[in-house]
């Protein structure tokens, strides 16, 4: 029988070996895993709620007698624990597979953006393009990105810990001072909001940025315009 690679088991074992790099959509990855976890969780909740309701109705107190409390054989508990362990292994296998794909960075990103978080705003520098966008809590910056491109982000903080979160993409990563962290994201044509997720002081709630994802040629002309205009600033850095 042929080994069915479409299940992705080879990726589970050798995440980086012998496979062509493809765009990873974090939203799809999240959704696929969510659709595994959520139904299992709901099923367990329904079973337990059902059992308790059943017991409370069926075994409500009717008389004065004390029911015999005979212990069942521990074999039942043992089998039950094995079933739970099986569920755990299954969930972890799915989780690990997805995690490998989400945190993997492309060897050849289509665009590199350096992100500096600070109290309370963001600075996006398009590496090699001489374009920087800065904004703060009063005038949030706009992160413009091309679609269908693996965008490499290098994230760090200038002061306290922040976190770069784009809820629509179902992904966030913390920004630490004196430390770089890198991740790749890909975008579909859309406008969305990103924000700081790690509590960072007074204007934490207003530390947002807009995200505009546009087709590659549109993006390139945007980049040209910015380059000609010199560094743009939507507001003052904090």
């Amino acid at each position: 029988m042929a080994f069915n690679t479409s299940l992705g088991w080879h990726r589970l074992r050798w995440p980086n070996r012998g496979r062509v790099y493809a765009l990873i959509d974090t939203r799809d990855e999240f959704q696929d895993l969510w659709r595994v976890y959520l139904p299992i969780g709901i099923a367990v909740a329904v079973i337990v709620f059902g059992l308790v309701l059943f017991a409370v109705v069926r075994y409500r107190r009717r008389g004065d007698e004390i029911p015999g409390g005979r212990e069942g054989p521990p074999i039942v508990e043992g089998l039950y624990a094995l079933v739970l362990a099986g569920v755990v292994v299954f969930l972890l296998a799915m989780t690990f597979r997805t995690d490998d794909r989400v945190i993997e960075v492309s060897p050849d990103p289509g665009l590199q953006v350096d992100v500096t978080a600070f109290q309370w705003g963001w600075r996006f520098t398009y590496l090699g393009e001489q374009v920087t966008v800065v904004g703060d809590d009063r005038r949030p910056p706009t992160l413009v990105v091309p679609t269908d491109t693996e965008v490499r982000f290098t994230l760090h903080s200038r002061d306290v810990i922040h976190a770069f979160w784009i809820p629509e993409l179902r992904f966030k990563r913390d920004a630490f001072p004196e430390r770089d962290t890198t991740f790749d994201l890909s975008f579909e044509e859309d406008e969305m909001t990103g924000r700081c997720a790690e509590f960072c002081g007074l204007a934490h709630g207003e530390m947002t940025f807009d995200v505009v994802a546009m087709a590659r040629d549109e993006f390139d002309s945007w980049l040209d315009t910015q380059r000609r205009a010199g560094q743009i600033q939507h507001g003052e850095p904090g």
């Binding site: 909740a45 007698e65 002061d159 002081g201």
Partner: protein, 553 residues
């Protein structure tokens, strides 16, 4: 041994009880008492007072969040509110309450005349109270109280990002509370290990005492780490530069969560134990699956020491897969505990009095917290959920909808033992109904808000974000909870004012605390029944029934 002393010479115990009863009238009796029951009640009362204050903070925050924009408090005040709400509920309410219940009940359940080293317990109680007052005194300073979140991540909690004496006082307060909790836990540990009555083997300990044993083990293993982490933070705030290096911020998080995650189980186990005792009693059935439960507790305790970094999946500086594995593996232990309680219910003779309602409320609502916990134990799902309202919903389902409900179960269950009077059952059911509706109305919308991208720890949100309706619902729910708590206060007042005498054993309990008077005498027991299993009083009742010599109570 002290336990045998109590059982051997009832006359001495009586005399001692009267002696102490005389001391009652003096203030000194309350301040300097070495009776574990009095210390425990005082710890519980202090916890409850802090619970009311922390609840007011929560209502202020919920009111602020009912509408977009800032109406009630400023951002700086809001930051102090959520910092002090979290610190209060964790350091001053749930953990001390758990230990207070243990301090009262464990010596009784193991058949001891007192707790081991009661003066140390008393010192621990004073340290917790002093720590709480120290934290709160920050409100009197120029910069206000602590405002870096209850987690106080460095560098935000450092001197340059959060200057001011209030933040210093917060750190000092946490250290004092940590020392106090450790002392109380040590006394409980020594009591369980050394002061069990003759015949009370480890496998005859009631479930609640077993859960307390697991709890105090976690306290003594992890709370000192918190105290050290905070002492280093204090040193930094006073001019040292310990966390200032590039690895400092993550080192702080590792130290904090090495305490912080077992702390969650410290606030879970005792309440699971209460639920187990209450369910067995009101199902009139021996707790089923006792040994598997004990094994699960031990496994859980061991694993709890190696799950801390699941709070740090988004830092990119921990082994996400390892911590995901250990955290998800907890499902096996937790599932075994759930199995045992359901097995106890099935085939029982179930009476739905107020303690049972709150215990089942804990059991089912905590499940929602636990299952959402499995979700956030998966790094790719946590990359979205972390620091969002999804997580806020998750831990409120465990700590409020879970542990605190079991706290109320304990209050209704053991109040007759503490005071000799029953709490009103009808008022209890009203409170339960209000709190179930309020709790789910408050916290369930938070799952949806978090999923839709609302971050935690913000005083405001955009009117265009689509968060308004769910936030209003949540705020409405929080006031229903407040109403439920008000009913409880009224119940306390009424029940103490017009006493409904409970007798020694109003619920037909299974464990030894029901084999003595309500409240128990100074040294707990005039005589001890034969300790034949983890449910000795049930054994006695079954024996009597078998011999057709049913005794009138």
């Amino acid at each position: 041994m002290s336990a045998s002393r109590a059982s051997a010479s009832p006359a001495t115990a009586d005399a001692a009880a009267e002696h102490v009863a005389g001391l009652d009238l003096g203030l000194l009796g309350w301040i300097a008492t070495t009776d574990h029951k009095r210390i425990a009640l005082r710890m519980a009362i202090v916890s409850f007072a802090f619970f009311l204050i922390g609840g007011v903070f929560a209502l202020l925050m919920r009111s602020e969040l009912a509408d977009p924009g800032l109406q009630l408090v400023g951002r700086d005040t809001y930051n102090q509110l959520f910092t002090m709400h979290g610190s209060t509920m964790i350091f001053l309410v749930l953990t001390p309450l758990a230990l207070a219940l243990g301090t009262y009940i464990v010596p009784l359940q193991v058949g001891a005349a007192d707790i081991a080293a009661p003066r140390v317990t008393l010192a621990g109680h004073w340290l917790v109270l002093a720590g709480g007052l120290t934290m709160y005194s920050g409100f009197l300073t120029d910069h206000g109280a602590g405002k870096a979140g209850w987690t106080a991540y460095y560098p935000l909690s450092g001197n340059s990002a959060t200057p001011g004496t209030g933040m210093d006082l917060w750190v000092i307060g946490v250290i004092l509370v940590g020392l106090g909790l450790t002392l109380v836990a040590c006394c409980l540990l020594a009591t369980i290990v050394r002061l069990r009555a003759p015949g009370m083997t480890m496998l005859r300990l009631p479930v609640f005492s077993w859960t307390m044993l697991a709890t105090v083990l976690m306290v003594v293993m992890t709370v000192p780490v918190l105290a050290v982490g905070m002492a280093l933070l204090l040193a930094d705030r006073l001019g040292a530069s310990i966390y200032e290096s590039s690895g400092g911020p993550i080192a702080y998080q590792n130290l904090f969560w090495f305490f912080g995650h077992p702390a969650v189980y410290i606030m879970f186990f005792p309440f699971l134990g209460i639920t187990a005792d209450v369910v067995a009693t009101f199902a009139r059935k021996r707790f089923t699956g006792y040994r598997p439960l004990i094994i699960a507790l031990i496994v859980f305790t061991g694993l709890s020491m190696s799950v801390w970094a699941h709070h740090m999946f988004t830092t990119d500086q921990v082994a996400n897969k390892y911590f995901s594995l250990t955290s998800t593996a907890l499902v096996v232990a937790a599932g075994t505990e759930y199995f045992a309680i359901i097995a106890t219910l099935i085939g029982g003779s179930i009476l739905l009095r107020t303690p049972m309602l709150f215990a089942l409320g804990f059991f089912l609502q905590f499940l929602i917290g636990g299952l959402s916990g499995v979700i956030v134990a998966s790094p790719p799902l946590d990359y979205h959920a972390h620091d969002s309202y999804f997580v806020v919903a998750h831990f409120h389902y465990t700590l409020f909808a879970g542990s605190l409900f079991a706290g109320f179960a304990a209050a209704y269950y053991w109040f007759p033992k503490w005071t000799g009077a029953l709490l009103r059952d009808s008022l209890g059911k009203v409170q339960f109904a209000l709190m179930v509706v309020g709790t789910n109305m408050t916290f369930f919308p938070m799952f949806l808000l978090g999923y839709d991208g609302m971050p935690r720890r913000v005083a405001d949100y955009s009117p265009d974000a689509g968060f308004t309706d769910l936030n209003r619902l949540s705020t409405l729910g929080s006031f229903l909870i407040a109403l439920g708590v008000a009913v409880f206060l009224w119940n306390l007042f009424v029940s103490l004012r017009r006493r409904d005498p409970a007798g020694d054993d109003p619920w037909e309990g299974h464990s030894l605390e029901w084999a003595t008077t309500s409240p128990p005498p100074r040294y707990n027991f005039r005589s001890l029944p034969a300790i034949t299993s983890h449910a000795p009083l049930l054994d006695r009742r079954l024996e009597a029934a078998a011999g057709r010599r049913r005794r009138p109570r």
